[in-house]
Structures are given as C-alpha cells and as structure tokens.
C-alpha cells in the first residue's frame, strides 16, 4: 500500500512540477514595420554565412537602418529600406520577395561587361530545326565540326538520358563548347550530372561548410564534395566552357568542377560567384528572405564566393558585336580546331 502511494506521488509530482515550465518558444516580434525589420535583421545575423569574408559590420547596419523605420511607414517604403539593408551584403543570393516586387543585389554582373548577346547567340544556334533541344540543353554542330551546347539555366532539368543522347549526337565532333554564360544557376544536381560526363575518375572538387550556431563564425569543419564519374557515355575530347559575370550560383559550382578536369578549358570572363547555398525564411508580413547559408570553397579551401577566373580571358569586342559575331565562341572554335 505504501509503495503504491509512493509511486503515485512520484508520477503526480513530475506532472505538476514540469508541465507549467519550459515552453520552447522563439523571440516574439509584432507584425509591424519595426517587428519585421528586427526579425529580418536577426535572421540574417544568425544564419548568413559571409559576414567575415565580406567584412560587413551587421550591428552597424542595424544602427543605420533602424533609424529609417517608423511605425506608420507604408509597406512599399519598408520594402525599399529592407532591400537596401540587404544590399549591404553585396550578395546575389540575398533577396527579399514580396507580392509586389523582389529586392536583389545585381551589381555582381551589372557593373561588368555583359560578354553575352541574346540576339547574336540566336544567330549561332540558328532557326528552329537548325538546333535540337534535350530538356534544358540546346545543341548543334557548327560547320567547323565543333559541338555546341547551350545550357541557359541549371533550373531546367536534365536527365542522364538527355545528356547521353546529346553526347552521342556530338560524338564525331573535334571538340565541344559548353556555353553557360548568363546561366544564373539552379540545381547543383544537374550541374554535377553534366560535369560527371567529363571525368574518367572520381574527383575531389570542393568543400562545403554549414553554420553550427548563430555566431558569425560558428562553422562546421570542411566537408569534401566529390564528383563521381558517370557510368554512362563520357566525353574524351577537348571541352571549352564559356563563362561570363552572369554565370552564378550552381553555374559557379559547375565551372569550379570543370576547371579541375584534364580536357577542359574555361574561357570568357570571371564568373559571378554565389558559392553560398541559399536558405530562406519568412517574415511576419509573409515576405520571404533568401540568403547564403552554407559556403562552398574550392579544393584549396579558398572561397569562390566572388567568382572564378577563366583559364583564358576573352571579352566580346564591339567590333565583333557590330558584325553579329560572338568573340568568345569564335575564340573557342579557333582553339578547338588547333
């Protein structure tokens, strides 16, 4: 009888003592201009991964921008101020999405030569029927017997079957051009899938880290990223990858990988960077912020956030543009024909 009461007493004590305490909650913000400003600042403060590299004093940014926030400011004005605050990070992966607009930092390509011209590229691809399309890949054989693949966005899906068909079609060419200029990124999976066709062995291509806590320097160890050779058709001949400042994010990763492979040359302009894997979070007013969360470094553990230099630097010349010529493609053809 005594044992029974002791046991019941223990269970009742646990229930009574523990239940009222220890709710796990997050800091509460109001859905006001101040609340959303503070929430956005905190999300970036805790989760953004390039503060040290970009030498941004985020507390000072708070100081400066909090003065511009007023309780009665209209939504569009708040969006403008928050967008400007995020632009302090100078990061193409940092965006603020609202129903009426997207705030982006675009100087990573706007301040540099375009080195790509849509109209001229269409002339190289030709009219409908003169090139083929396999999922996200447009491809054709130039008259110089050089294969040309245009991959406009790594957001456009490609499967192993698509890549095999393309490479089989181009198999008799003397060389291959992969044009990823103005490719703003997308899926790393597609980038790896394509790159895996150009190596005969597994290759260590980069390192990735992630944040382990809210501190600006709370990072994990460097985790290796390997490119595994494809089990399908693999390309053995020379390849030139064309890049410009608008080759960003997953494209930056693709270029970083391809640069390590023996038959591959990178030609054009420096890439735009964007090596931080982006995460997102929602604000109380249902706007969404995207930000770099996990940094990727090259094989020497050097950051590639600000871009990758080509092996051969080539710019499109005004003279060629006026003649509807793409200097970079022409140089690539010339090199592959040597």
């Amino acid at each position: 009888m005594k044992g029974r009461h002791t046991l019941l007493y223990i269970i009742a004590s646990i229930l009574v003592c523990i239940i009222p305490s220890s709710c796990i909650k997050e800091e509460n913000f109001e859905n006001t201009p101040e609340g959303n400003f503070e929430l956005l600042w905190k999300i970036i403060d805790e989760k953004y991964c390039f503060f040290s590299e970009k030498e941004v004093d985020w507390n000072e940014v708070h100081e400066r921008y909090s003065k511009r926030i007023t309780p009665d400011m209209p939504s569009h004005a708040l969006f403008e101020v928050l967008g400007e605050m995020l632009a302090e990070l100078k990061d193409g992966h940092v965006n603020l999405y609202a129903a009426h607009d997207v705030a982006s930092y675009r100087k990573w390509f706007e301040d540099y030569p375009a080195n790509f011209n849509d109209s001229i590229n269409e002339l190289y691809l030709g009219k409908t029927g003169e090139y083929m399309t396999a999922a996200g890949l447009k491809y054709k054989i130039f008259k110089e017997n050089i294969g040309y693949i245009r991959y406009e966005s790594f957001s456009s899906g490609i499967g192993d079957g698509n890549i095999s068909e393309v490479l089989a079609y181009l198999a008799l060419c003397d060389g291959l051009i992969i044009d990823v200029r103005n490719n703003g990124g997308g899926s790393l999976d597609y980038a790896h899938k394509l790159a895996a066709r150009f190596t005969e062995k597994d290759v260590l291509t980069s390192y990735i880290q992630h944040k382990t806590g809210p501190g600006h320097n709370d990072f994990s160890e460097y985790y290796p990223v390997w490119l595994k050779k494809s089990d399908y058709i693999r390309w053995q001949k020379p390849v030139i990858v064309l890049t410009n400042r608008h080759s960003f994010s997953a494209t930056n990763d693709f270029v970083n990988t391809m640069k390590l492979l023996p038959n591959v040359t990178i030609m054009g302009d420096r890439t735009g960077g964007g090596s931080g894997l982006p995460f997102s979070a929602e604000l109380l007013n249902s706007w969404t912020v995207r930000f770099s969360a996990s940094p990727t470094s090259d094989v020497s553990k050097k950051s590639i956030e600000s871009g990758i230099d080509p092996d051969i630097r080539v710019d499109m010349t005004q003279e060629d543009i006026q003649k509807n010529k793409d200097t970079i493609i022409e140089e690539a053809i010339k090199l592959l024909k040597q």
Binding site: K2, G3, R4, T6, L7, L8, I11, I14, L15, I18, I19, S22, C23, I24, K25, E26, E27, F29, N31, L39, K42, I43, K47, C49, Y97, L188, D189, I208, H210, K211, T212, G213, P214, D218, S220, Y223, V225, L277, P278, F279, S280, A281, E282, L283, L284, S286, T288, R290, A293, S294
Partner: protein
C-alpha cells in the same frame, strides 16, 4: 510493494520487447482475449514553430485520426497493454503565412492497474513512443521542409472512472504521456538536406533527448457513452511536442476535439488452426 515491483517488471518487459513475455504464458488465459478498441476522428487547431524553416509561428486547422487498443496481458491481470496510433495533418494558413505539417505517432506500452475504488482505477506505466512527420514551408528554397523523426520512452499515467447516468454506463478517462529519454533526428543549425542526404554528411544527426531539450507531453481526456447499440467516444486531445537541438527550436501545440466509436472485442484464438464451428463461421 509487490504491485510496485510488478510495475517495474512491466517497464522492463516493455524495454526488452515482447519476446520476453513468452516465458510468462502458461495458458491462453482469458483476460487477454478481451480488448477495447476505439477509432476516433479529430478536428482542432495547431500552432507550429520550426526555426530551421522560419523563426515565426504558424497556426491553422488540424485533422487527425486515432486508433487505440487496450487489453490485459496474459501473464498478469493487473497489467494492461495499450496500442495507440494517431496521424494528424495541419494546414497552417493564418495571416496568409502558409505551412503544412503532418505527424504519425505510435505508442505501445504497458500500465500497471491500481484499483483505488470499484469505479476508479489509476494506471501507471511506460510506453515506446515512435514519431515520424514533417513541416513544409512552400516558400522556402533549399530548406523547404523539416523532417520529424524521434523515438522516446515515455512515462504514462491514466485515470479511468466508470459511472452511471440513469441506466447508461459511462467511462471517463484521462491520460498523460511524458517522454523521459529518446533519440531524435536533428540537422545542424545551418546544414541543408542536400548536404546530409545528397552529399552524405550525416554526422551528428541522431541526438539524445530528454527533459532538457525535448520536454513534451500528450494528454487525452475521453468519455465513452452508449447511444442505442453503439458505444461512442468523445474526447479532447492536447499535444505539446517541443525540441531545442543544435540551436534549432521547434514546437507543435495541438488541441483537438475527437469523436468516434468504441468496440469491445473478444478474440477467438486457435493455435492449431482448427476451423470455427460451421454454424457460426462466416468465412
């Protein structure tokens, strides 16, 4: 004191698994053939926070279905076995912030029965508490979802009160389950699922949990009442699931009104595969 020992034996058996109970089976004793099963449908409200996705709380309606079976063990009339499965899904849409969540929960365990009064008994015991689910935020990019996977050992207590209103027999029951120790899947603070499951960097994703980082509770208040030839169950289910691991905070607070029906079943066992008598065999 003997009863307290039996209670701990029940916990031990629970931890060792059901095979251990084989040695206690002396015959196909009668009490284990009778079981109370209940199926209930729930509608309620859920509040959900997962700072891996966003540091804000989402709220919205929740639907659930639960199935419960309780029976006595073969080896002791004072020990009952509870088998409780519940699945819930919520569409969290308050203030135009949208998120979806779902959780499947399976509790299996034993309670020792303390018969306090003829109409009141208190049950205390332990449960294994297995959970799998997700929270999905359609607006997020590389962190669109947060997987929920955890297994706990729970302390569980129940009070069952039987009473009559006119000629109607009613049963009221209150139950609370509290996880004491367990393991839980949790990514690092800023680790992406791409990194974990595509690149295979899974170090530290399985974590020990207890009161300090996973204080949670499930409570249930039910009333079984007859209506013509059917025994109905009406109840209130309150769930508080929380965790604070790797600087990631998460909670799900759920309040549900449940309604369903109860069946009292007697199992007919035949280890030798003998057919039922033809005059009663429906198959």
């Amino acid at each position: 004191m003997k009863k307290v020992k039996l209670f701990f034996i029940a916990i031990l058996l629970l931890c060792l698994g059901t095979n251990s109970s084989a040695q206690y089976i002396d015959s196909d004793t009668l009490q284990s053939r009778y079981r109370v099963t209940a199926t209930t449908f729930g509608i309620g409200l859920q509040s959900s926070l997962d700072t891996y996705l966003s540091p804000i709380e989402y709220k919205g309606p929740e639907l659930s279905i639960a199935r419960e079976t309780i029976r006595k063990t073969r080896f002791n009339r004072n020990i009952t076995v509870q088998n409780f499965f519940r699945i819930n899904a919520a569409y969290l849409n308050k203030d135009s912030r949208i998120s979806y969540s779902g959780l499947a929960n399976w509790n299996y365990g034993m309670h020792y029965n303390f018969n306090i009064l003829p109409e009141l008994k208190i049950l205390a015991g332990g449960l294994t508490d297995m959970n799998g689910g997700f929270v999905y935020n359609p607006k997020n990019s590389n962190n669109p979802a947060s997987a929920k996977a955890f297994i706990d050992l729970d302390l569980s207590a129940m009070a069952i009160y039987k009473f009559k209103i006119r000629n109607y027999h009613m049963t009221a029951r209150y139950q609370a389950n509290i996880p004491v120790a367990g393991v839980m899947f949790a990514p690092e603070f800023g680790a992406s699922y791409y990194e974990m499951f595509y690149l295979g960097h899974t170090d530290g994703i399985v974590n020990f949990t207890s009161f300090h980082n996973h204080f949670s509770i499930r409570q249930m208040l039910t009333l079984d009442f007859p209506c013509r030839y059917v025994l109905f169950r009406m109840g209130y289910y309150w769930e508080m699931q929380q965790s604070h691991l790797k600087h990631i905070k998460s909670h799900t607070y759920s309040h549900s009104f449940m309604i369903g029906f109860v069946r009292n079943i007697k199992l007919i066992r035949d280890k030798h595969g003998k057919h039922l008598p033809a005059n009663i065999n429906p198959f």
